[in-house]
Assembly symmetry: C2
Homo-oligomer: 319 residues x 2
């Protein structure tokens, strides 16, 4: 990872957050998968265990923390959560990884992208078979709702707020958001999208879940509506920047570093930002989106070092 | 449909309820599918439109009504809902049909049971292809959560209660319930289950959703915990009775009447109640479960004519 421009040490920060997310994942899985048939629990755990950057949970936690810190500086009313500020926010945050993992499992299926590798490991259906992978993927959706509800309760959130969080998650994950984007992406194979269509796919497929990640963090911290909108704008713009960077990496990266087969988009004839704008044009667009993300936060006094650094990281990372 | 023993006219009752459920389905789909890509909305609507008995939503509404009527007779505290008692409970109820429809779409996939016909029509993947059917199926899960939340709000339920309803639905639908049962059912193909294993599959695969159907109805009506447990026992026992009757019909019915290919279980070598107990033994077991269902309700003063008649219907129907 390249060093961000600011003095903030994002790498150490992300490493620490990654560790906390992993701890929450293990605790949450131990609790939520206890009463589940082993044959379903195994592929679910395999897919969740396969690593990844945990960007969505980390964004949720960072947004939560930024709002709480602003509240402690006195700009807000009392923060939403009482008591256990520690591990519980990570359980809400893991719900985003559950939904993300569901989408990866299904995206990799033979009837979708038919991928063999994911995060450097054989895809879930390659290990457990297509039926188990299909079922495990779908099982992650209600598990995510449970994680938000139980994590929210442990965080001290009122049931009303937990219901709002679940509703927001379902909207972002569902057919109006991520799942709809999966379909648009798939339906676009074989024909060339223009830039407006491509952006429409990504806003849904990747953007919706990243936008709700920061929004959920803000909601859990009791942020006002204007702040929530700014957090959502940040997440959506960051998501777009991330996606553009992914497209560039798919073109210029190598398989061993990416942990997935490089050049796959080109092989499938998919429209991407570099295919439509050129690599330099795509880089420029990604940087604009990262700036737009930070701008949105500045307006509500939330442009904390980690949130700023994450926006830069989205476009400067090399995997 | 054979006439139930009591004077209660179940057929007219079910016809009226079926019509109300259909109206709610159309309104809910128009609202929830508005912002969804057409290519996802179409297979979702196709699968939901394909008819069926709407048993799960009807059970939810009947349970809701039974608790409300008991409250009006003065046995309970005030009923949970204020104001619009009309259409809104049907929207909560439709969430159960969303989950059920998801399970049918995925069950029929080539990687699962590989079925061509469902409710007398080509299965969703036969019309829209496997990718669209896989995505549409998964899309129904968050849609169900939204239906409960929005229907609950229209019914006047507090957010806290709506969160409880969503949580109960996710538990029943998820890997600990229905989705887990799907897998156990699939994993059992090719070997012969014993009676205990078979019951374990059905308690999850069919029973969990029917049990939560009556429970959600009770929760929406503000029932006390003891009543909720009785409603759940009723739903679970009814579900088992229904499943046993289904197994018998698969063996003795014909394809045109069933709307699906008859004799499929036998062809797949699946253990069923009649294969383990004989047809007469299975009929006896189904009747016992129906009696157990009514018994549970009697204990809490909820054995209303429609709930009694539905339990009988479960075992006496011919399709």
């Amino acid at each position: 990872m390249s060093t961000p421009a600011s003095a903030f040490d994002l790498k150490s920060y992300l490493d620490a957050e990654w560790g906390a997310v992993e701890m929450a994942r293990r605790e949450l899985c131990a609790r939520l998968l206890r009463d589940i048939p082993t044959a379903v629990a195994e592929p679910v755990e395999y897919a969740l265990d396969a690593g990844g950057k945990r960007l969505r949970p980390i964004l949720c936690v960072v947004a939560y923390r930024a709002v709480r810190e602003r509240a402690e500086r006195g700009a807000d009313g009392p923060a939403g959560a009482e008591g256990g500020v520690g591990a519980a926010i990570y359980e809400i945050a893991m719900a985003l990884e559950f939904i993300h993992t569901y989408s990866l499992i299904h995206d990799d299926l033979p009837c979708m992208d038919d991928d063999d590798l994911r995060r450097g490991l054989p895809t879930t259906h390659r290990v457990f078979g297509v039926p188990a992978a299909t079922i495990a993927g779908a099982a992650l959706i209600p598990l995510a709702c449970r994680a938000v509800d139980e994590g929210g309760a442990r965080l001290g959130l009122e049931p009303a707020r937990r219901a709002e969080l679940i509703q927001a998650l379902c909207l972002a994950a569902g057919a109006a958001g991520m799942i709809g984007g999966q379909w648009l992406d798939l339906a676009a194979e074989g024909r060339t999208l223009d830039l407006v269509e491509l952006q429409g796919v990504h806003q849904r497929k990747t953007g919706a879940l990243l936008a709700v990640a920061t929004r959920l963090g803000g909601m859990a911290a009791g942020a006002d509506p204007r702040t929530l909108d700014a957090l959502e704008t940040y997440g959506a713009a960051l998501g777009l920047a991330f996606q553009i960077a992914d497209d560039i990496l798919d073109l210029t990266g190598d398989t061993s570093r990416l942990g997935k087969v490089a050049g796959r988009d080109q092989e499938l004839g998919k429209a991407t930002y570099p295919s439509l704008l050129g690599v330099d044009g795509a880089r420029y667009k990604a940087r604009l989106e990262a700036e737009r993300a930070v701008e949105a936060l500045r307006d509500v006094g939330l442009d904390t070092p980690p949130l700023r650094a994450l926006a830069l990281y989205a476009v400067e990372r090399d995997r």
